[in-house]
Symmetry: C4
Subunit: 242 residues, 4 copies
């Protein structure tokens, strides 16, 4: 229908707006951009802050008409809506800017993390992101179990390397927390190479840790990958309500 | 049949030709080869340019006989054929060379990327490459969703490390775009090690980012891997028309 | 039931206790913590040692009431229970501390690996960890086969690089055991970069090794991942007895 | 049966022998071992050479009794057997040693790669390795297709980085073959970090290459992983003949 087409166009415009806005928050930290186009950026911040504020208020206003919320009264329906995860994201994406505008002591620039919250607003328009969240929720027990296992291996690896290497490299393996940095970067196969075992025993243990990292990789793939693929395909047959 | 055997042999010769040609474009940048065998390489370029030009013109000539294109007139059939992706690849693989030959201002050597386009011609002869393209097209929504998610995590990781490390390492984490380089290399588990967090907070956040990269890996595997395996096997029962 | 609720609460308290305890063993190696809060840590060690000892003794005491062990007499049931893997973990988690307390020649601090054994106690409360163990046991033949294969590729890669690079880099590729360190870090895609081939032949062989590492990755994923996912889901329908 | 038990025990002894032998070939390159235990190693080499020679000759001798070869005459059956892959491995594992013993000009030590061929003999006793070979053969078209694709991406990545970075880093990106080294180490997510883009354009292209490497990983997993898992399980129901 025409209403549906209009809704899709507004969605597309809002997505472009979010991406431009997040890109701006990123580029602003570059002095050659953030230091030069001060007023242009401020103007765009005000426009974005206004649009997102209007979007939020409109969504809140009409939320008592949504079928699942109709049963509550007009006030309670809006409170229930405002507490949904996506509404909280909308709220956090818009409020800090206006606070920083009215209270000089809060610098909007320092709220760079909150500005990136706007990126999460894309989740509202992306069924794939919602599918992933569903997959993670559905498999939460298996994911927690895998994380416990991976953390256990990281702990044991760090402690072993600490025992073996802390005499040879006190600056890198002097404490277990320091060795944990090596263990994480090795087990996830990132392998920065800033900290590397130098003793023969350390290299042998590290080789086994690498092999384990190589194999433990199978766990998230087996769990999240399968569940995500399942969610994506089941979505195809379900009418979603944003 | 004998005609079929001949076609297969011509295909095999053309594949060898493409590989030799691409290999030459790569080796030519090595001064000890490109600077010495100038005339031999030029000769091979002319031969390759001629063969690919003749192949393209012949394919275009007979394209109005292909069953799916017969319904159009002789001219429209050839236009439709010329606009198909594989025909565009054939065209781009051959035209720049002849342009550079006749217009001295365009150096064929500087068109090194266009020369590698010839490698894409192999796709015409490889069902597996076509299967992958089909798999990617079939799962495009899931792939876009995963990319949005991965980019979101990269953005958040870069911003967090920027907040935590930009005082300690202004040369590496001085701006968010600079931190993005670190975030990409960490989340994809490449881990060059040219940029590494040094503060305790930075290392803790980086460890979580590594773990997320380790787990998010499951998404492309779950989506592309499964779809590709499915395409490959369904191909076995389908007669393809090149 | 109320008894069930109480059991769950005790389980939760014990998990928190284990995590605190392992975290303490890790942090203690940091001089700014282990050197300052000497008495506080000693006190916590005594409390943990007591709780885990009481837990172990109580479990051993009531073990003859468990249905599968009832058929043995009261003594034999307890011996059978004490030899189960989880009971051995409980035992190893508690005994070294008390030995180090009574025999001054054994330093509890030096037993840092044994202290981390307490982390394994979490396996008792995590069905996911038990599922992984089941999956590994069920697929042990395939896992051993993959490991043989991966080790074979590592050996061949190390020997080839040793042949090609040991003249150019005697300090890194002077012996095959030294080259093995490179081969492990490359094939598992960790890639520290502390040892890198420098000759053209070495780089070509290394590129093939990287590609093989990239592909061999498929083995653990295909085996462990699938088996783990299967175990996790079959667990859902099984009443477990801890 | 007793004969079966004896065969299994001989198999186990031979596997241990192979592992000891390969381990020795590796350790011999370490001067502190290879330079000291000269005679002990020579003795072990003679024993291994004799055992493997006797094993090969016995297997060849009785090969005309194997049911699938019975139909040939006694001579042709042995020739057919000698040309099977596993027999060739047995032959290559044993002949070079005896040649080097009788012809002084060939140094056994320099044949280090041929000595590692003995490791391949383990394949005879490992159903998992044979399953992997079957899986690779069954999926050869898909594997070749994936490799073509991965090599195409490597080529394009190397050429792009060469165009963008060869002015800034002529020592690392001065030619496309040099850039290929970077492309392989990045796309396979190894990421040594010895060669890293420094320009903004180079880093942006490199980020996309990393993301592609992260996603292309799905191909071998989807193909080899699934096929291997299938082979492993089908093996369970098949009586194999070594």
């Amino acid at each position: 229908s025409a209403g549906n087409r209009l809704a899709q166009q507004i969605d597309a415009i809002l997505i472009v707006f979010i991406v431009v806005n997040v890109g701006l928050a990123v580029l602003e930290t570059e002095p050659s951009i953030g230091g030069v186009y001060v007023w242009e950026i401020f103007l765009l911040d005000i426009i974005a802050g206004s649009i997102f504020a209007i979007e939020y208020l409109l969504r809140l206003w009409v939320s008592d008409l949504h079928p699942p919320l109709k049963k509550y009264g007009p006030l309670k329906a809006r409170v229930v809506y405002a507490l949904q995860p996506l509404s909280v994201v909308d709220f956090v994406a818009v409020v800090p800017f206006w606070l920083s505008l009215f209270f000089a002591s809060i610098s909007w620039k320092s709220l760079v993390i909150l500005r990136l919250f706007r990126f999460l607003k894309i989740a509202r328009y992306s069924p794939a992101v919602r599918s992933l969240v569903s997959a993670v929720v559905a498999e939460q027990r298996a994911i927690v179990g895998s994380l416990v296992l991976i953390l256990g291996v990281v702990l044991v690896a760090a402690t072993l390397l600490y025992s073996v290497e802390h005499a040879a490299q006190p600056e890198h393996f002097g404490t277990i927390p320091a060795a944990l940095w090596w263990a994480f970067s090795t087990l996830t196969t990132v392998g920065y190479g800033d900290v590397v075992p130098v003793t023969a025993a350390g290299k042998m243990i590290a080789s086994i840790v690498m092999l384990m990292g190589y194999c433990l990789f199978a766990l998230p793939v087996g769990i999240v990958g399968t569940a995500f693929a399942r969610e994506i395909h089941s979505r195809d047959f379900v009418v979603t309500w944003g």
